[in-house]
Symmetry: D3
Subunit: 172 residues, 6 copies
């Protein structure tokens, strides 16, 4: 039987500088470029959890808050919040940092989902995740609700079957 893993074991830290190469015409990091980096950080985190090749299965709603500026540093922190049968949800926090002016600012938070693959490219089971801290437990619990949103929006689940999500709207 596969051994469980702690959330902290999948923690991944990525750091980049925003170069001209990465900015739009207004001197800010392009959303698409940032999602590209987030995809790599999240994939590393998922691989740490399952020790298998992974592919991006889905990306949840991402809201970009402050744009990250040319020359600033981008910090991306990722860890697995919960695993399902063959998939893992990864939570990402992204913030910018201006080392000259010495302040940090939040860019966004996001959830990417990955599927582990066996040597034939088919989904394979992944270890269970054990949350430890309070924050990890909260992310673990809410992961189920986010999964239902994904399945409903992807047309793979009916709203009526999404018990956890339904509870947000209906006080029975």
């Amino acid at each position: 039987m596969m051994e469980s893993r702690k959330s902290s074991e999948s923690k991944t830290m990525m750091t980049e500088i925003v170069l001209p190469n990465d900015t739009n015409v207004y001197g800010n990091l392009m959303g698409g470029r940032l999602m590209y980096w987030m995809d790599i950080a999240a994939a590393i985190s998922a691989q740490k959890h399952c020790n298998a090749p992974v592919v991006t299965a889905s990306v949840d709603n991402i809201s970009f808050e402050s744009p990250i500026k040319l020359g600033n540093t981008v910090h991306i922190e990722a860890h697995v919040t919960r695993s399902f049968h063959t998939s893992m949800e990864v939570h990402l926090k992204v913030w910018g940092e201006d080392h000259i002016q010495q302040y940090k600012y939040k860019s966004n938070e996001a959830y990417y989902t990955f599927v582990a693959l066996d040597s034939n490219g088919r989904p394979k089971p992944v270890p269970q995740l054990i949350p430890e801290t309070e924050e990890e437990k909260k992310l673990f619990d809410a992961a189920l609700r986010r999964r239902q949103v994904r399945l409903i929006l992807g047309g793979k689940m009916k709203p009526d079957d999404a018990a956890e999500l339904r509870a947000l709207f209906v006080k029975d």
Copy 2:
């Protein structure tokens, strides 16, 4: 007063070949690279609608279905579905095509939201969008519901205030 625009006026078509440069270790287009291209296609579409610089404000849930293979063609089709005060929702359809074997396959559908900026980098009002076809009207109506999901998930709206979304769960 700003003149309204048709949904079809913002239609944008992007075509790419998946080169070694764009693939992960398994020979498939990386999720992050595809989101980068989608961001550019969607930004062009939003600019067509509002004739102003735009920045990515948010990206909705994206589910990746079939992976797009090395050497295959990527087709990205984008158009604005609805505009709000200073923002626009863009719908994207992505599919792969194998010209040798002669078949097409769906990769994903997604919604990106952009904000128009004035010359000081502050949000500025955008023209209203007029949907014409049946599909455009459906996307236009559902845009409100998707916006509520975004606002709730982003912590900017309470579930109780999301009338359109609530209706999916509660038959009063």
Copy 3:
């Protein structure tokens, strides 16, 4: 016997934004970068026609008219004009668009020639092309003349053998 194809079946539309990454020191799209994109758009078009891998065989005279500016959109439209035994000529039209100022401007027109390859990497026959519109017919007829220019300039044909081209200079 291989079935013929219409010119319109190979039509390919590519759209890009000029990012800092793509410009020279004067803020204009570099000629080399544009030829790179044109090569990809033209290769997709040729593959649509022949359903086989293709390689660039030659590129005709390209005149760059207005330079395309940083932040502007690049539109590349490609379609096969005529096929020869194992090769295809692709016509490309390239224009820039400034969505803020709302005008379009021509960048260039060009002809790329591709050869189809079989599984051993040797040239293989391609379907014949059937031009339909007036413009397609004109491009189809002139393709022979352009081919003679290519062969003469490449040292593979003597001027005296280029009947169609000769007719431009000599009224017998």
Copy 4:
């Protein structure tokens, strides 16, 4: 008055390795990527001649002979063949080299034309070019004929006015 320059003064040598990044799906250097490198080598050569910023004005017929393979070295040699009022024609020779098997093979020869710009981005006069060797003189003479082909194909000259080119077809 501007001082003339020798052809050899603009000689430029570029060397690259074909990396996975630069190949198509068949493991050969992509035509578009090579044209990108050629554009840079030719621009450096033109700048050496005129000591001013330059932009690509046109590219002549390029025939790709042997494809250059992954891991092989690309050699690009460029020099100005002739200058006209504000423009310069640059001749390029490209060959591949396999250092392991120890052989070289020709890829293509090409002509790029550049225009020199003043500080307002307008064309400015360039020094005259003095050919010295036999090969340089041959390239210098033929430059006029190639210019006529460019102008005719670009619709800026009538075949009847192209005296040098006409002489190839008509023995008066």
Copy 5:
């Protein structure tokens, strides 16, 4: 007076996946690509220490041990070891990780030196560094010796003046 900084305050962690894009023809991370990433990680670390723009002044001897393989993760850890008047030495540790086979392997260790710049692009004083742990103190002390090697090899110091380095060879 400028306040001193601890070594740990400049700690920077960078994580990357080796993609096809980054490998040589043998499927290993190219030395040049790795030095590029190391330069960025080290620059971020130096900026954290001095809160000013920095430029790479020198790179010490780097020995590459095990090559990092396609698909493996690259970890780069950087921190400032010592500051001199306007410059800072950054120590880098680089290792690869194979998440599938679950082992880590050392790639190299290196020292990059950066100079802080004021708003006119001239070197400006940086805060002193306070080493705390045993390892930090060892790196701090040896930094002087490495600086002498740099100055001697760069022709800016005579071997006789390099007291600390000399002590390695001569037991007076």
Copy 6:
């Protein structure tokens, strides 16, 4: 027995323009980007000497003098200075050139070491190098001393065993 090679046979010339893509936020060529180009130029030079695949084994101290500016040309000249059993030391000279202002300036000099690989990826013997000019002979002799610095700094040799290096500090 393997035939010796002259130093001049491995001479390699690389030329690049500094594009926005290659600069840091201050408009200068990034150190990491330059080391990437130097790695490629040096690898080509080493391959010319040994006619085998090579990998970067080490990079010596590099001091960056004048930064190379956006739009300027980068010249990299490389040749093998000496071969050891399975490795080769390559000397690189790098300078910038401003074609508009018409001056050249030194950027840096460096030594990269490469190891030749056989078809199983194991080190294989390389031809001996014969220096011819005075400068080549000086580089050849000093190569031994630099090798000792590398081995000492890499912990593979004790200072006492570095006879050539020791002689710099101790006049016996």
